[in-house]
Amino acid sequence: MKQNLIKQNLITIKNLKKSFGGINALDNCSLEIKKNKITAIIGPNGSGKSTLFHAISHLISADSGEIYLDENEISPNMPDYWIASLGIARTFQDARLFRNLTIQDHLEIALSQNDDSLLKSLFGKKENFDEKIKEILHLVGLNKPLNTLATDLSYGQRKLLDLAAAIAKPHSIMLLDEPVAGVNPVLRNEIKHILKELHKKGETIVIIEHDMNFIMDLVDYIYVFDYGAVIAEGIPKEIQDNKKVLEAYLGD
């Protein structure tokens, strides 16, 4: 029975702990991310949401606890780029782009599997991603010329390119850290639409968000964080009526 449950989960997290100088950023955090669903992680500022993403992608190492991808436990010593290549794509609150590279460069880097080999890169067959790039850019609605440098993009366009790169990168799950933070209402709706499209395609997505209204009609399941622990979980309807959640938000 328990084994079965894990099978439906893409990511299972058990008792994850991380403290920074005595402050618990993650305090015995446990949660499950179901396949083909959108899961939201909400909570006040500093409640450990981003820390969770960093711990999953091994940008920081957790003090204790276990993380499973499918049924396999991820070794805590695995380097971050290795975790990524296991199929975890992610974005950042503040889009991490390559300033001096173009939109096309970003997506080709994300799509390519063997550009880090000098010999393959020089003598191998040239990989052609044009169709895929077109498709992804159409999906996210980033209609700038392909040779636009990242540094010349607006804030919203940067967010879109970051999302596009995560989509392009071969993955089984996407971790999106506040994809609509600081974005204007029009673009906000467009991003919601993109996420719905991705949902339809059967993507597994975890999204960190501040704003309850944004996720209510978008996600399948919600975890509410406070002080690095899950204080409530459920489908959006249940969370909406949960007193503890209101307290955590209002009492802030």
Partner: protein
Amino acid sequence: MIEQYIMSVFIYVCIYIILTLSLNISLGYTGLINLGHIALFGIGAYSSTLLMMNLDLPFIISFLSAGIITSLFGLLLVFATKKLKGDYFALATLGFSFVIYSLLLNLVGLTRGPLGIPGIPKPSFFGITLTTTFSYLLFAIFITALCVFIIYKIVHSPFGRLLQATRDDEIGLRVLGKNTNLLKYKSMMISAFFAAIAGSLFAHYITFIDPTSFVLHEVILLLTMVIVGGIASFKGSIIAPFIIILIPELLRFLSIPSAILGPMRQIIYAFILLLILYYKPRGLFGRVDLA
């Protein structure tokens, strides 16, 4: 006589084009603030010389082996310093150049120390020996063209693009599944390989090397060339050596005594470096900032 002089200046230009391009691979394209490049140049010069003179290896073999030996030193340098960032990395690479300098000076059994190594044989292959300056110039141009072509291919390949991504945002690249440490190792090895080719070209041309050719003020000259041309600017790294070498050469025609010529040249280099850092930090042809 004047032809000899002009040819010799252009041989230097060739050597510095390779050197500047090779430094731009690590410093400009990959963003490794490498202040130890001159040491790699020196290791290349000494390796090629010693392999040819002590082991009687043919020129071509020594020439290429020097590249491989030096790229291993490059790997050692960047592997040892992999945890250091920014100023600390820069200081460590600067320290590396001091360490190599003092080894060249003190491993007397191998390098003859401050006496230097005279009588380095001229290159010879297929029964031809490059005894005249003109033949050496042709050889230098050929090697330089080959290096320029290969480096062009590397930096404009998908691999070269990853190097630039490493420079711009390492974490952003790692979460896309790329091993940026490995990319840095490879970048430094390629950079060191070509530095050695330049070093070897230098040693077999002037036929005498001693540790003073590989000291601090040479680092300034190299940095000036890379920065004047532009960080990660391929075109800039080819044009800048012409400008930077030819300007002080004009001093020679003003019949300035040689005791003044040396420091004057250094002053000009340092001055150009400071001016470009202030007025045009991206260099003449660059579009990338050194962060």
